[in-house]
């Protein structure tokens, strides 16, 4: 059994694959209605493609790394060329300043622990943390020294004032005591004179 249209018969592969436009599709269906050879061919392609559809999609064994993952991070030279005049330049300035401050305040025996594998941000964090800690330590020491000096001076001033006051009080007391003794002595002498009549009459 063969189609009478022969080479002009509908493209049943394209029909089954959905590649025919609406008019061509209607024309093919109208022809197949009266052509058993074309019905058989169309059915054959339909069955074949249905069979191929049993091949199911597989799940990914693991997810694709997203652009936020490390693998998508730009290389150092990309960052340098793409972001030279952007805000990261200010960040670079901060890093440079931190390094300078660090060099100024860092004690000789306390090297920064850096390895060649560390990223720029990790180095920045490490240096910033160390500089902050050392500045804080120095500030604490200077504050403590200043407070000690002030307290010592205050105590000394207070002690001096107390000594002066004590001396003054003592002198006043001695004066009052001397006056009282002198007065008492005069009174005793006067009463003795009255009782003995010596020099009173």
């Amino acid at each position: 059994m063969s189609c009478k249209l022969e080479d002009a018969r509908p493209d049943w592969k394209a029909y089954t694959l959905g590649e025919l436009d609406a008019p061509a599709r209607r024309e093919a269906e109208a022809h197949a209605a009266a052509c058993s050879a074309c019905q058989e061919e169309a059915a054959g392609w339909r069955v074949t493609l249905d069979a191929m559809a049993v091949l199911k999609e597989e799940e990914l064994p693991r997810r694709i790394a997203f652009v936020s993952d490390k693998v998508f991070e730009p290389t150092w030279w990309q960052r340098l060329t793409q972001g030279f005049l952007r805000p990261s330049f200010a960040a670079a300035g901060v890093i440079a300043a931190a390094i300078l401050v660090h060099a100024f305040v860092r004690p000789a025996g306390a090297p920064v622990n850096l390895s060649p594998q560390m990223s720029a941000s990790a180095i920045e964090e490490r240096i910033t943390a160390q500089v902050t800690a050392q500045v804080a330590e120095r500030l604490r020491a200077e504050m403590a020294a200043a407070v000690n000096t002030a307290v010592t001076k205050a105590v000394a001033d207070t002690e001096k004032r107390d000594d002066q006051r004590t001396a003054s009080l003592l002198a006043a007391t001695e004066r009052r005591y001397a006056d009282a003794a002198d007065y008492l002595n005069k009174q005793v002498t006067h009463m003795y004179a009255l009782n003995t009549g010596a020099g009173v009459r």
Partner: protein, 185 residues
């Protein structure tokens, strides 16, 4: 489908402006299709996964070069195609299909798993060009003109490869397919 295309366009526009999350969403939307396309093409899960990774990385790096965001899918598959063929060319000696066993005689009633194996085996017997044409049309649903973009060849070449492949598949699968259709045991 139209809604989906609009969404993709929107995500692409955002990703071009530096919105990483928008691109992440595009990846999660397309990764399964890209992976399965590559899996059938290179027949190795790890290779397919690696090439998928490279495909999305290259797509991200070249997103600004995409002229028409409406054709993102064809553009993405074009990248995947290039990556896959780059690998296949490097591994050509190991990838010859000369020793591929012929499908068994699937004369009896077939279980879905058996039919699936028969289809897989029949696909592997095709040439790389033919197999890719089948994958893009039958499993990914691309139109002929989109396939021409992905494969970088005329539509006539696409149709020729696909039709030849379908004729071979029909012949190879006929015993299995028609036994199943008739319910022969």
């Amino acid at each position: 489908m139209i809604f989906r295309e609009v969404e993709d366009r929107d995500l692409i526009a955002k990703a071009r402006q530096g919105d990483v999350e928008a691109y992440n969403l595009l990846v999660s939307r397309w990764e399964k299709r890209i992976f399965n396309y590559l899996l059938r093409l290179v027949s190795n899960r790890e290779d397919a996964l690696d090439i998928s990774q490279d495909t999305f990385l290259k797509a991200y790096q070249n997103l600004r070069k995409l002229d028409d965001p409406a054709r993102f899918s064809a553009w993405l598959f074009r990248i995947a195609h290039n990556e896959a063929y780059s690998l296949l060319r490097r591994r050509k000696p190991d990838n010859e299909l000369i020793g591929e066993p012929r499908p068994k005689d699937f004369g009896g009633r077939m279980l879905p798993m058996e039919l699936s194996l028969a289809v897989e085996s029949a696909l592997k017997r095709l040439s790389e060009d033919q197999r890719e044409a089948v994958l893009l049309k039958v499993y990914q649903g691309f139109k002929f003109d989109e396939m021409a973009v992905i494969l970088d060849c005329p539509v006539s070449t696409v149709k020729s490869r696909l039709y030849t492949a379908l004729d071979l598949l029909k012949t190879t699968l006929a015993p299995a397919v028609f036994a199943k259709a008739r319910g022969v045991s």
